[in-house]
């Protein structure tokens, strides 16, 4: 692992307290200095030790309570220091002694020498333990952090019936091990840095060196370097800060909490960004079609996988179109509705006091309220409640003649179609409202005008230099094998050229011999 200096997050606060100060050789002065810096921070623990044999040697241990693996400190640092026979050791000055302690006494893997006060302070904050030696103006930074972590659990937002069940957790290092376990290749690179001027959150850019485009990696690093924010809790913060087209409702960066899905994206040349404290990994560049790809598509039969994916696409299309088309047909182009259907719509509209578009807006809003309420309810009962609520409310509204029955069907269908694409819910709601508005004003013509606008918008988007959607002219058969359909693996020889152009070969072209 390679530590890089984080850009953009100058630690103004800490520089103020330590400006002009250098580490002192006196242990007592050093301890006072730390006490002063961590004033009013009750978690700071300072301990002084003596060696059994040579009592002139005084050591100090500084760390933050709760972030340290106490057992490891006890067994790996305190016990050896106390018990080691320093009289047998030859050393010229304290620096030499410290180096010998580092190499011969301490029983912990991660130990480095440090003489910079800023470094020491960030090490304490990060949960490391400092070992001070009286008479030496430096410390040993001992990486023996330890705190309670959540166990690896099934991803909540991307459930899959088939395939791996592991999801990312809030611990960055655990997440990275999950990636590494899946790709055991030295090509896999992890670049660490820190972000957030106060939170000092550790982030990690993760990619396959020979697959990812260097310009995308560089662009991502450049954009991250320019981020100047005090607190970062989730990759969504960063995504919103560094994404292309900040005003578009569509997601311009990918987000997944499935290691398997992340790894497969990296294998196509995408670059991932993980941060400490969030189970969501961000991937760039992001294409429109990724909204419809689910990892289970790849774990089931490709006919069925393709079918499911097409359902999702049709669902997204219908969920923005159904209310708009219904309003356009019923209020403008009644001649386009089949006669029997028109009659049944007309009979159910009788005695409904509101115009069709008001009905539509009213019911769609109610649906969104129920959806949001269902999300806020902390258990999975939420969804059931929202459906029951919608049914009961819908039934009552129809009987009270507040809305017509076909409108309930329209809204119900729209809602279900939206749920097919949980990742697209936000953009779909906005686009649906705009299309509904256009249809209400201009009828079918307005709907098509709105659709045209949507297509133009989608076609103009670019994520990290890669087109969000492909134009008719730039479609190559090999690139669209994993879009509307999921082609079988034996058919996908190359990586998509837009992202994985550096090393396109995905699989060999040899036929697998099958003897019956």
């Amino acid at each position: 692992m390679e530590e890089q200096t984080a850009g953009g997050n100058r630690k103004d606060s800490q520089q103020n307290t330590t400006s002009g100060q250098t580490p002192s050789t006196s242990l007592d002065e050093m301890m006072n200095l730390f006490r002063q810096i961590f004033k009013d921070d009750g978690t700071l623990r300072i301990r002084v030790l003596n060696n059994e044999g040579s009592e002139i040697l005084r050591f100090g241990l500084v760390n933050v309570d709760g972030m340290v693996d106490k057992h490891m400190i006890q067994e790996g640092v305190i016990k050896p220091l106390m018990a080691f026979d320093f009289t047998r050791m030859e050393y010229g000055n304290t620096a030499e002694l410290m180096e010998k302690i580092r190499t011969q006494v301490i029983n912990v893997t991660d130990v480095v020498t440090s003489t910079d006060l800023n470094e020491m302070i960030s090490a304490i904050i990060a949960g490391k333990t400092l070992l001070l030696l009286d008479g030496y103006a430096g410390v040993l930074t001992i990486g023996a952090q330890g705190w309670d972590k959540k166990a690896i659990t099934e991803p909540v937002t991307e459930k899959s019936v088939y395939g791996p069940r592991e999801g990312f957790t809030e611990s960055l290092i655990v997440n990275l091990t999950q990636i590494r376990r899946r790709v055991q290749d030295s090509d896999l690179k992890f670049i660490f840095s820190k972000i957030g001027s106060r939170s000092n959150t550790q982030i990690c850019i993760c990619y396959m060196e020979s697959l990812a485009s260097p310009s995308i990696v560089k662009e991502l690093q450049d954009r991250l370097r320019q981020v100047d924010i005090d607190l970062v809790l989730d990759t969504a913060y960063l995504s919103e800060l560094i994404r292309d087209e900040p005003f578009s409702p569509f997601e311009m960066t990918g987000s997944t909490e499935r290691p398997d899905s992340l790894v497969s994206k990296m294998m196509e040349g995408r670059v991932a960004l993980l941060i400490e404290g969030s189970p969501y990994a961000m991937t760039v560049p992001y294409l429109f079609v990724e909204n419809f790809q689910a990892s289970s598509d790849y774990y089931i039969n490709y006919y069925f996988g393709s079918f499911n994916r097409m359902l999702r696409m049709v669902g997204a299309f219908l969920s923005i179109s159904i209310p708009a088309l219904y309003v356009a047909l019923v209020t403008f182009s009644q001649e386009m509705i089949p006669t029997q259907l028109l009659l049944s719509i007309a009979t159910s509209r009788v005695a409904v006091p509101f115009p069709t578009v008001v009905e539509a807006v009213f019911m769609l809003t109610i649906f969104e309220i129920l959806r949001e309420a269902g999300e806020r309810i902390p258990t999975y009962i939420g969804q059931a409640i929202s459906i029951v609520g919608a049914l009961v409310l819908g039934q009552a509204a129809v009987e009270a003649r507040l809305v017509s029955a076909p409108m309930i069907i329209v809204v119900g269908l729209t809602g279900i179609m939206t749920l097919l694409n949980s990742r697209l819910t936000g953009p779909l709601i906005i686009v649906r409202a705009l299309l509904l508005c256009a249809s209400f004003m201009l009828g079918i013509y307005g709907y098509f005008l709105g659709m045209l606008g949507l297509v133009i918008h989608l076609m103009s988007l670019r994520s990290f230099g890669v087109s969000y959607m492909l134009g008719i002219g730039s479609i190559r058969p090999q690139d669209i094998k994993d879009t509307a359909i999921r082609a079988p693996w034996w058919h996908m020889h190359l990586r998509p050229a837009m992202i994985g152009a550096r090393n396109r070969k995905r699989k060999g072209s040899n036929k697998i011999e099958r003897r019956p």
Partner: protein, 381 residues
């Protein structure tokens, strides 16, 4: 190639998007017209229009819609159509109208003045079925309530859709009708509509054909004759063909499975002759005699007899239309126009007369494809 397909697709979408007018109106603010009947008005030069309007107020729960009948007189159709708003209070919506019924009186006086509006207006559709009422007025027909559908006009449309199983009336939509009115080598026709009374329940029944010369109705032919007329026009898609037995009594029913008619104008001895060849695939569906038919020979005999009878009947209806009406409803003129443009130039001026004197030869072939579930007739001991 791909670009052309996409271009075509895009223009198709654009085409759909610009049809219809974008006037905002709620469905419950329009009166949906199901059908319309046109009669002569009480005073001279007036027309009386009867519209059947779907009544959405009734039957709100289960079966949609009853109907309302409104009649208004006026000088022009459009004047009446707008006048009706003063009764209904809602604008009439014509796009879903399914049937237009003309009274015989109106048809005999000339139909152009009554159907021009229907053809010209932007809201009406040209795929509406046209009928001529054999009853006294069109109003009687349009006011009926039917057995299958509560709305007569929709029932009529349904009848026309299944007419191909019967073939006793031509299926004519208004665009087709107007097309024929304008063609010089073909005359227009329309199905006739009756009221069929049974157990005091009145039903509309479509059978027979009204024949038009120019835009005026000149006569009718019966339902049975219509079938053979349709044979000559190659418009048979189904129906029943009856065949006599040796004694001349009707004894066999053949179901028409498919039919192909080829009409060819030829010059024979300096005279124009129409050669009509029909080839009909049938299934034997009913045998009312114990006569043997199960061997190859008897099948051939039956086929031959059926062909001969069909041939005679087709010829007989052509002769009758030639003699009585001088109206080329068979479209022979158009055919000559296509195949022999030079000849057409000579005959087209006086085509009605030329048609009456045209020499016609019919050659029919009937092929029995199957004999139903059994291969033998019911034999008594």
């Amino acid at each position: 190639m791909l670009k052309k397909v996409i271009l075509a697709f895009i223009s198709l979408i654009l085409l759909i998007s610009v049809t219809g007018c974008w006037n905002y109106s709620e469905v419950d603010d329009i009166s949906i017209v199901a059908g319309v009947g046109i009669d002569k008005g009480e005073s001279e030069g007036e027309l009386s229009v009867t519209v059947e309007i779907v009544d959405t107020k009734e039957g709100m729960k289960s079966s949609p819609a009853g109907f309302k009948i409104l009649t208004l007189s006026g000088k022009t159709i459009f004047e009446i159509a707008r006048g009706i708003i003063s009764i209904t209070g809602k604008k009439l919506f014509w796009s879903h109208s399914k049937a237009i019924v003309l009274s015989e009186e109106v048809a005999r006086e000339g139909v152009i003045k009554v159907i021009d509006w229907y053809n010209r207006d932007t809201e009406t559709r040209s795929d509406v079925y046209i009928f001529v009422s054999k009853e006294k007025t069109a109003k009687e027909v349009i006011s009926l309530s039917s057995v299958t559908e509560s709305i007569t006009a929709f029932a009529l449309a349904q009848q026309m859709r299944s007419e191909k199983n019967v073939s006793t009336a031509p299926v004519v939509e208004i665009w087709d009708f107007i097309d024929k009115l304008e063609a010089s080598g073909e005359f227009a026709m329309a199905p006739l509509i009756y009221i069929h009374e049974q157990n005091k329940i009145k039903n509309a029944r479509v059978s027979g054909t009204a024949i038009f010369s120019m835009d005026k109705m000149v006569g009718t032919i019966s339902g049975e004759e219509t079938k053979y007329m349709l044979f000559a026009k190659d418009q048979i898609q189904g129906g029943v063909l009856t065949v006599n037995d040796k004694q001349g009594k009707t004894a066999f029913s053949l179901e028409i499975l498919s039919n192909k008619t080829k009409v060819k104008p030829v010059w024979i001895d300096g005279k124009l002759q129409m050669q009509i060849n029909t080839e009909t695939q049938v299934g034997l569906d009913e045998v009312m005699t114990p006569e043997e038919f199960n061997n190859i020979n008897s099948k051939n005999v039956l086929e031959e007899r059926a062909g001969k009878e069909l041939q005679e009947r087709i010829l007989s209806i052509i002769h009758r239309v030639q003699k009585d009406y001088h109206a080329d409803i068979f479209g022979f003129g158009e055919l000559i126009h296509e195949r022999m443009p030079q000849t057409w130039k000579k005959v087209k001026e006086n085509w009605g007369q030329e048609f009456s004197e045209l020499d016609v030869v019919v050659n029919s072939k009937v092929i029995i494809k199957s004999s139903g579930q059994t291969s033998r007739s019911i034999q008594t001991h």
